[in-house]
């Protein structure tokens, strides 16, 4: 993952593009010259970032640094003031993405069953019913679902609802999957469960994942790279690699490497908080 928050060499004021700042090898998503202000206050100014293919990147940073805003700009939910975001050189509208919201209750469609929720994006893409069934069954096997998917979302527990959300976003085989604080409304047991399911799903599909988390342990546990942001105007404080082999068991949190990375991340975070 190669990054630069310095302006391009030849024109100090001009924002970067993919032409002035090349992508690092094995990059999936390139963000160049991204600018975004809120009420005249710059949040991002000429922000550059490469997201590596098939890896999980956690975004972590102080409150109000725009972790979610950054992810939502990449996912197309928030319009940047300027800048270019390309997926393998394609624009967003030619790219299949998935998104998991913090608020699973508001994200699912309560008028159809959990099963139909998962099938919805497939049916809307015009997939034949037999293939839809096949794909949903595949996901059921992958997630080892043991609760009744013929129930309506409001009849499920929080963890079950979030699982359905993740299955729904994975159903159309997205290239990139975005997760906005997916655990923050879940209890510890469900967090462990969904964390391991996400890891399984990522290993099985090789999807590129971006996770925003406010919990340091969750951020580090799943990540291949931890993207640490500064206070606004937001820059990259550091990108911490975390290469503990997968699958990582819940006990990985006491692994010396985990402890070291987490401590280092915390140190950078505190430095940025007081900066």
């Amino acid at each position: 993952m190669k990054t630069s928050d310095a302006p391009a060499v030849m024109e100090p004021q001009a924002p970067d593009t993919l032409l002035t700042l090349r992508a690092a090898p094995a990059t999936h998503v390139t963000i160049r010259g991204l600018c975004k202000s809120f009420a005249g206050q710059p949040l991002y100014n000429n922000f550059n970032l490469d997201l590596p293919r098939g890896r999980i990147v956690s975004i972590f940073g102080p409150n109000g640094c725009g972790k979610s805003t950054l992810m939502n700009m990449v996912a197309g939910l928030v319009k940047p003031d300027s800048g270019e975001i390309l997926f393998d050189g394609k624009s967003l509208k030619d790219t299949n993405i998935g998104y998991v919201f913090q608020n699973y209750r508001d994200a699912l469609f309560p008028w159809i069953t959990a099963w139909d929720n998962i099938a919805y994006p497939l049916r809307r893409k015009g997939m034949k019913e037999a293939q839809v069934r096949e794909r949903v069954d595949e996901l059921i096997t992958l997630f080892e679902i043991r609760f009744d998917l013929q129930r309506y979302p409001y009849e499920l527990s929080g963890g079950q609802m979030q699982t359905v959300c993740i299955m729904r976003s994975l159903a159309p085989r997205p290239e990139v999957m975005f997760l906005d604080e997916p655990f923050s409304a879940l209890d510890f047991e469900m967090t462990l469960f969904i964390r391991s399911k996400l890891q399984d799903a990522q290993m099985a599909t090789g999807v590129t994942m971006v996770i925003v988390s406010h919990d340091l342990e969750d951020a580090v546990f799943l990540a291949d790279r931890i993207l640490l942001l500064t206070r606004r105007p937001t820059r990259i404080a550091e990108i911490v690699p975390f290469d503990l082999p997968r699958p990582r068991a819940p006990e990985a949190v006491s692994d010396p490497e985990f402890v070291r990375v987490k401590a280092h991340t915390l140190e950078v975070f505190r430095r940025e908080m007081s900066a």
């Binding site: 197309g76 919201f101 994200a107 994006p121």
Partner: protein, 261 residues
């Protein structure tokens, strides 16, 4: 309080509890007559009234009026829905459009429709059309307002979830916004049918009418036929109650997620 609770539980099946209120009312009614608080000429005994009620159904003399009222109410409601729901949904999906007519909607919603009767008389004359027109106007505002708010208050997350999947604008509208608005729309429908009935009854009473329960009530009052008057009032009340119940049951069945998500 607790012992009363126990006694009630012992005496009645839980399902019979809703009957207690009406029985108490009839008891109080009978008491008012037995104790001679009210002259019988103003208030007939409940037993005789119920007997009269039975008689009007047995002889079939009430069916014409009942049918006329139901027909007008259903027509008005139908017109209100056909205009109000699509218009409300369209206005609701464009906040700017709704804001620009919000004052008009709120103004006429706050104006008792009965106050508009003279205006409608000028336009439509003393006709059946007039009664249906004014009732559908009053009901339509309620439907429109609720449908619009249903769409406007659609959960943003749900809309975003659909957009992220890359579904078309039309499908976001049909699959999410419209479905989201249904719960609120049904609240509107239930209030609207009650409003339609109220206006139809008032119109039948005061806009020259030959039929309808409102006409029956005011006719009975003119000739001091109190039994007939109370009977018609009871039937009108029962009609309103049944319509409301019908919509509640339909809502429970169709909008199963209402209040849960």
């Amino acid at each position: 309080m607790n012992s009363l609770h126990l006694v009630l539980n012992k005496l009645f099946d839980k399902r019979a509890l809703p009957l207690i209120g009406p029985l108490l009312l009839f008891a109080l009614w009978q008491l008012a007559i037995s104790a001679q608080w009210v002259k019988p000429v103003l208030l007939p005994p409940p037993g005789e009234t119920l007997q009269h009620l039975w008689g009007t159904f047995a002889s079939g003399s009430i069916y014409g009026d009942l049918y006329a009222t139901v027909y007008r109410t259903v027509c008005s409601f139908g017109i209100a829905v056909v205009i109000g729901v699509p218009l409300g949904v369209v206005l609701g999906s464009s906040e700017a459009a709704y804001r620009s007519v919000e004052f008009l909607i709120d103004f006429f919603r706050s104006t008792p429709s009965s106050a508009l009767i003279p205006l409608f008389l000028l336009i439509f004359g003393i006709t059946d059309v007039n009664k249906i027109a004014i009732a559908s106007f009053g009901a339509m505002l309620i439907v429109l307002f609720n449908s619009a708010y249903g769409v406007m208050n659609a959960k943003k997350t749900r809309v975003m979830a659909a957009q992220i999947m890359g579904v078309s604008k039309w499908h976001v509208f049909k699959d999410v916004l419209l479905m989201e608005s249904l719960a609120q729309t049904f609240v509107g429908l239930r209030s609207a049918i009650s409003m339609a009935l109220v206006i139809v009854i008032v119109a039948e009473m005061f806009i020259g009418s030959e039929t309808g329960l409102g006409h029956r009530i005011i006719d009975a009052q003119q000739v001091f036929n109190v039994k007939e008057m109370y009977t018609s009032i009871l039937v009108t009340g029962a009609l309103g109650y049944l319509l409301n119940l019908l919509f509640l049951l339909a809502e429970k069945k169709l909008i199963h997620w209402s209040g849960k998500a």
